[in-house]
Symmetry: C2
Amino acid sequence: MLYFDHAATTPARATVLDTYNQVAQKYFANPSSAHKLGQEANSLLNNARQQIADLLLFKSNEIFCTSSGTESNNWTLQSLLTAHAKLHPNRRQIILSAIEHPSIRSQIDHLKTRGFEVILAPVDHNGQLDLNSFENLLSDQVLLVSTMLVNNEVGSFLPVEPLAQKLENYPQILWHVDAVQAITCRMKAMHHSRIDLLTLSSHKFHSVRGVGLLAIRQRVTKAPLLFGGGQEFGMRSSTENLPAIVATAKALRLAWENQAESIKHINHYRTQITQALKKMNWQVFGGSQEQVSPHIICAAFPGVPGEVLLQAFSNADIMISTTSACSSRKKNDHHTLKAMGIDNNLANSSIRISLSQTTSQAEVDQLIKPIHEISTKFKQDLKGA
Amino acid sequence: MLYFDHAATTPARATVLDTYNQVAQKYFANPSSAHKLGQEANSLLNNARQQIADLLLFKSNEIFCTSSGTESNNWTLQSLLTAHAKLHPNRRQIILSAIEHPSIRSQIDHLKTRGFEVILAPVDHNGQLDLNSFENLLSDQVLLVSTMLVNNEVGSFLPVEPLAQKLENYPQILWHVDAVQAITCRMKAMHHSRIDLLTLSSHKFHSVRGVGLLAIRQRVTKAPLLFGGGQEFGMRSSTENLPAIVATAKALRLAWENQAESIKHINHYRTQITQALKKMNWQVFGGSQEQVSPHIICAAFPGVPGEVLLQAFSNADIMISTTSACSSRKKNDHHTLKAMGIDNNLANSSIRISLSQTTSQAEVDQLIKPIHEISTKFKQDLKGA
């Protein structure tokens, strides 16, 4: 079985799963318990939080563990936004990039019900934010801006520095960056002090499932989404998922340590795969090498529905997806491609091949031949039709 | 090390952790992915959901996986309550038992801000709901009632049937039951069709951390707390924590299968421990055997602060807590004992010893002697003072 669906989820590294098991077995106490074993658990939690903070260049007390990237994004647009809005009663505008993840986008109706005006910042045909349009949208009416660092469907990389420059004159605008897809190849880009809120998700970087992170600068007014026992500095109640949090700190460290080396490989693999696709008349989206994270390859084979392509690969024991896992089981909407102005027919013929730091040359080699075979078969089918 | 803090959290059973690892390693795909491995993951998820539904006597499409009991309780009092309130704009009252968990209680201010009136249903000195008072509070003004099945600090068991009878004439009142502490010994009591919403938490019954359950009857109007990819029937977005959910279904089944046998043991252990405590002049709270779940023993040693007692046990390598993990690291408020009308001084001298289905006679035997020794020491200290 060949797995090329890492943007949907990644398997936990063996050493990360080992850490999970060790903590689950040995430090199983509730970190809130005052006895010896609880104190040890709490100490592990503090260490993990410090490790994560060091890797993200945040302070330890700015790292909040949630259950998922989705929860982090909801927390941002729900209670944190409400708290910020109370400080700025005259601001009611929220700017979202037009290619945000469903956990941001699907909140738009809810935001409107709550009296906010939601404005989408447009992207070009490569999925890049139009910086002039973005700048023109900024004003003293704006409460919050949310941008992805790496898009989950196409891989578009939205650089932080140019946006930070545009936001320089608006220090009171909260800036949330969804960096869920950035850990594989664009981790350095997260290290910008202008970012107010940063979302990560454990299972996208070879940790176990079930840990989201929301890094929140000290300067941001905080309010909980989940009330209760007062864990996470009183801001995210629930008994801490200690084994998963410690495992996630380790997985994040490994991702960081491996990044420089693995980017080279992934760039190389991307070139090999996109060349194979283009040779068989696939159209590859996302622009130049600087404009994408190389681990996501979005491409269309005109005339064949993405679902049919996906099944052909699946039958050849190769796991890929149609643009995003979240939309794979629902009617595909190819949201990002549409925002990029890609024709509907072409969008409906698109698939996503996604790599990770653990992808090997051998796996890529095994992918090339089926790309050729499947494309040849569909070419013949289309000719025959 | 002797662990008697199972009400705070339980270690995962070895076979449950095995299941977690097998699923994490073999079925690591995103259940939303349409390819073969994704379909297999999705099929495992459906099976787990069906198993849980069968054990709780709910339908499969009434079982929603969250990240914690806290999240389930917050979902109930946040968006689900809001959705119910829209159907009944003239009802604004919420009734909570006076001894609810912090994840219910700490929402009171937030509920008031949202325009609800919160009324606490009083308990007697054994932690039992006063049924007459409860009945008198019910009216056409009431939107929702939330009661614990087993209290986490004292172990008070609030039987379902008498409350269901009182609620019989009020079918439009949503009834939420927090059954987080009920799995060890009072699982049968959850099986009542009048319950609209039921909260459970994986790590309280020897599963891994990080899965909450909210069972919601089909008749209840639903609204999500977390928006996004549309997982959990569109009601709880986030990539599903599949290994933990499958492990939790297994742990729940084991808890159910072991319950009849282990209740006998736990009842017996409780008797042994409470006798040892009483012999050394401890005061044990919670009333008769029918009024408590036997796995939680709350007792006070008058004159010595609970924190000091806890440390004495911890120094003897015995892990117990002061009434609840959630309050162990904060200034103790002994909320439940206060609601029971227990004198402040006595409440401040209380600890909680909590057992589980895996507690053995050998462990109980090892606890009896330190109870004697620690009590003797503090008796002498108090005499000397």
